[in-house]
């Protein structure tokens, strides 16, 4: 009986503990959780800088960042372009991650669309898929030559 009472107390304490730490209020932050004034992404455009600020940095770098990024594939600002454009995919080496002018043949597009032929899960893994607007912006940027603009 005593052990059951101890267990019950422990469970209650544990559940109370769960409620202590909760989500931030977001005060003073932009829509990506960065401090206001640091410069947000602005409206999404089919340019590399806009895609970086609106998609890669806030969404993809949750995993693809730092020295231990999956497959050493970083989408952090300053690295993402060199890791994307004209670089063979490691999962499907015959495809480039971004093939300038060829969105349908770019492995990045296949991964975010969950297309047949990809290896592993659709990106972003475990999160909601990118919106049609976000995918369209990436497709348009690649179709326009995938410039570092």
């Amino acid at each position: 009986m005593r052990s059951h009472a101890k267990a019950l107390v422990l469970v209650v304490l544990w559940l109370v503990g769960l409620t202590i730490a909760c989500a931030g209020s977001g005060e003073g932050l932009d829509e990506f959780g960065n401090p206001l004034g640091e410069g947000g992404g602005g409206e999404l455009q089919p340019t590399f800088s806009s895609i970086q600020a609106n998609i890669f940095t806030p969404i993809c770098t949750q995993c693809h960042a730092g020295a231990s990024a999956p497959l050493s594939f970083s989408l952090q600002a300053g690295f993402s372009y060199d890791h994307l454009v004209g670089v063979p995919s490691i999962e499907v080496p015959e495809l480039l991650r971004v093939d300038p002018g060829q969105p349908d043949d770019s492995y990045l597009v296949m991964k975010i669309e969950g297309a047949p032929g990809i290896t592993g899960g659709r990106m972003p893994l475990g999160l909601s898929p990118l919106s049609a607007e976000q995918i369209a912006a990436i497709r348009a940027w690649i179709a326009d030559g995938a410039l570092e603009n």
Partner: protein, 365 residues
């Protein structure tokens, strides 16, 4: 099959009577905490995950399910050996979900994991060749392939090849903050060598790998990762650490993890600190935490409550987020598990919250 069945059941009874008292066991850390056993007791991979070994297979078929069904040949146990030295295993998790954000609601079917395992015992209790191949979702890909040399001095072992890195609790859910943010998850494996030892209650594993998470080596710096833990029947506690240097900067991760059981309850938790030091000098410090409670209602039925916390940048205030997950996991028979989970991700108001209801069917052997 019958002789094999008798042998393995005898071995099971023997192990249960010699080892810590146990109730359930499978491929998730809560089961390890509940039983008081190490990962290596049930898995070929000494640090857990993947194929169940002979003991793990017996346990999964006899002690996990609510109902043990006949296999049609008069028996109820299936040995996973397909030859003297070869044994196989598999996991398939298929899901139907309802995912709701502020912008949309989706109802996807998907496969969380489909893996096939092959183990060749070349020298009994000494040398093992092991392959873990993912066949779904998407194209096949190799997750692990290594040679495992056991029985070295001090109850130590050596693992050489491609493998999941030793760090913290090996949770199944790669999207949990402690696994997603640290990068130590089932989507990341690396090439190198791992040394471990398990004398008495101590469990230690240290790996030196390329630090490229499975990609070809692109620099001469290596990643060092590992953990040290003490494992007792009713509780365990350990520390983890990792350092990796690469072209995109340096990353350090340190953490502590532990768990205990109390009657039908099992609790586990982990806390990690992650520091990224990129070449541009803009350091980023993250903290992640996880706690989980499990209640064994009856054999074959587990109730789970889990909580994950993330502070994605300690230098920025009011940006933390958390996720709560509740669920029921039912081992219906020896090869089939059905689960239902509800999870809620609370983010800052600008980003919005996410709710997810998932039904999952897991077949395994």
């Amino acid at each position: 099959m019958r002789n094999t069945q008798l042998v393995v059941l005898t071995a099971l009874i023997g192990l249960c009577s010699l080892g810590p008292s146990s109730t359930d066991l499978a491929a998730e850390p809560y089961l390890s905490v509940r039983t008081g056993l190490r990962c290596s007791v049930c898995h070929t991979n000494m640090t857990g995950g993947g194929k169940r070994n002979a003991f793990g297979s017996i346990y999964a078929q006899t002690r996990l399910p609510m109902m043990v069904t006949s296999l049609g040949d008069g028996g109820s146990f299936m040995a996973t050996n397909i030859a003297d030295i070869l044994s196989i295993g598999a996991d398939l998790r298929a899901r139907a979900s309802r995912k709701e954000t502020e912008d949309e609601t989706l109802y996807p079917f998907d496969i969380e994991e489909g893996n096939l395992y092959v183990e060749a015992t070349l020298i009994r209790d000494r040398l093992t060749f092991y392959v873990d191949e993912e066949f779904a979702p998407g194209n096949p890909r190799n997750r692990e392939v290594f040679a495992l040399i056991k029985g070295l001095p001090g109850e130590s072992y050596l693992k050489v090849g491609k493998f999941f890195l030793p760090y913290g609790f090996r949770l199944l859910d790669d999207t949990e903050f402690i696994r997603q943010r640290t990068g130590f998850n089932f989507d990341n494996s690396d090439l190198g060598v791992e040394f471990g030892l398990e004398p008495g209650p101590l469990s230690v594993a240290v790996a030196v790998t390329n630090g490229t998470q499975g990609a070809a080596e692109n620099n001469n710096d290596k990643q060092f990762s590992g953990f040290a833990a003490v494992v007792f029947p009713r509780w365990r506690v350990g520390v983890s650490g990792s350092r990796n240097e690469g072209e995109t900067g340096d990353r350090e991760a340190f953490g502590a993890f532990g768990g205990f059981r109390l009657g039908r309850f099992a609790f586990l938790g982990e806390y990690d600190f992650i520091n990224d030091d990129p070449p541009d000098g803009r350091r980023g410090d993250q903290t992640v935490a996880f706690v989980e409670g499990d209640l064994l209602v009856t054999q074959g039925l587990n109730l789970k409550v889990a909580y994950g916390f993330l502070d994605p940048d300690r230098d920025i205030g009011e940006n933390s987020r958390y996720r709560v997950r509740v669920g029921a996991e039912h081992f219906i028979t020896q090869f089939l598990q059905a689960s239902v989970y509800y999870s809620r991700l609370e983010d800052i108001p600008q980003v919005g919250d996410q709710d997810e209801l998932t039904f999952e069917l897991h077949t395994f052997f």
